[in-house]
Symmetry: C2
Subunit: 152 residues, 2 copies
């Protein structure tokens, strides 16, 4: 019956994720009144350009309702605009407005700064090990990106 929460991997991983995310989230929360789903959607659109809501969800691992709400919030901030697809009217294409792209640019700077800070804190070795560990998790546990209907 020897068990300690403090050494339990899921717990440690959650705690570490919170520690690392919170400090960055504090910035976009304070500066831009942005939530995490909004930041993720903004980041996806900023780096890939025009996307659909479903694609944003796949790219940033968010549930479609989260994406839907984030998109609406960004739209209300006038950082994103929707446009219809002429071939398939279920789809809507999403794209950052010039204002949205400006915010994205500022956020990218903040993100790089933050990664630099982290690298300094963790040291080259710590960072490398962390990334290797994360890569192992991603390789073994990530939901395989939707397959194109193989045989079955």
């Amino acid at each position: 019956m020897d068990f300690k929460l403090e050494t339990f991997l899921p717990y440690r991983l959650n705690l570490a994720a919170e520690l690392v995310s919170q400090r960055f989230a504090a910035q976009y929360r304070a500066r831009y009144r942005m939530t995490r789903p909004e930041w993720r959607a903004l980041a996806a659109l900023g780096s890939y350009g025009r996307m659909t809501a479903t694609e944003i969800g796949a790219n940033s691992s968010m549930h479609k309702t989260k994406v839907s709400r984030a998109v609406r919030a960004l739209e209300e901030k006038r950082w994103l605009k929707r446009s219809e697809d002429l071939d398939d009217r279920r789809i809507e294409h999403l794209e950052l407005t010039p204002a949205g792209r400006r915010i994205y640019g500022e956020m990218v700077v903040l993100a790089h700064d933050y990664e630099r800070d982290l690298a300094g804190l963790l040291g080259a070795g710590g960072l490398r090990q962390l990334e290797a560990g994360l890569a192992a998790i991603e390789a073994k546990l990530a939901v395989p990106a939707r397959r194109r209907a193989p045989k079955d």
Copy 2:
């Protein structure tokens, strides 16, 4: 302006934490209708014995309202009992009931099984690197456990 969410450390860490936690959480959710705060409180009490709510919070990194609600839930399940402190009536001591200890024992088995599974999936190397990375984060970013009022 090169930035990809998929390589951003806070994002990767969150995703990894979710991947690793969800599979374990699914077990106690399904088997015992337990939430994560309840599991953490149960684990703290199970491994350390009698504690106060504040101590549980410190040990499992939970906000005091989360602890308060988790404690009430465990009490309603009859897995925990409160008792008063004779010297300081603000404090309540919390302790698992025999039923609570039984559940804790079962959970410890599940937790060990899960860690074994993870170790198998990640491989010895991956696991070791991950733990080293987490240790670096904990060392540099964790909120230092409340100090005993040094000079200042």
